[in-house]
């Protein structure tokens, strides 16, 4: 099964604090704030869950894997996720 944003909204709605519409809006804003932070190059550290960081990749020479032609890959930024030790243990224990 794939868990999606809709499931998270459903779980928040089940707390009986917000309406369904409010819950959806709040979850949307939550991810928007996280994306904004990463966009500014600021890491997002969520204790117990993990850390999202932005890493700068230098320009490098690569190859088109299909044709073998050499190409120059532009410098870029990538988002990486490092799982927290607590979560990693829980995933491996399955609970």
């Amino acid at each position: 099964m794939t868990v999606t944003k809709a499931h998270i909204v459903e779980n928040l709605f089940a707390k009986n604090i917000f309406t369904k519409t409010e819950s959806a809006q709040i979850i949307e804003t939550l991810f928007e704030i996280v994306k904004d932070s990463l966009e500014q190059g600021d890491d997002v550290l969520l204790s117990g869950f993990g850390k999202f960081s932005v890493k700068e990749k230098n320009q490098r020479r690569g190859r088109n894997p299909q044709t073998g032609d050499p190409i120059l890959l532009a410098p870029r930024k990538v988002v990486t996720f490092k799982c927290s030790g607590v979560l990693r243990e829980r995933i491996n224990r399955g609970k």
Binding site: R76, V79, N92
Partner: protein, 100 residues
């Protein structure tokens, strides 16, 4: 940005109490944790997706002492960044390219 900063930003943006924002943040990440713990796939459109990968155990060596050690099989979550976020973190770079 830390979890408490995220809670504050959410409270401010949505005009809700800190306590309500804290509940929202906790529910969101607990839902995500539960999915990963069950090894379910997790997809947040525009943000990214998570998949738990299984790694087989292998016989390794302690690089310092050379002793043979058994490395047990393990599971690790793998994050793949979504299209929107991928483009947004690079937006500033591509703007500069266009100007150049």
């Amino acid at each position: 940005m830390t979890k408490s900063e995220l809670i504050e930003a959410l409270a401010k943006a949505e005009g809700i109490t800190l306590k309500a924002a804290e509940t929202a943040v906790n529910v969101a990440f607990q839902s995500m944790e539960q999915a990963l713990i069950k090894s379910d796939r997790l997809e947040i459109r525009g943000f990214g997706s998570f998949k738990v990968k299984n790694y087989d155990g292998y016989r390794g060596r302690n690089p310092k002492t050379g002793d043979i050690i058994e490395v047990n099989s393990k599971k690790l979550p793998f994050f793949k960044v979504g299209k929107e976020l991928k483009e947004r973190v690079n937006a500033l770079l591509s703007d500069e390219e266009e100007k150049a």
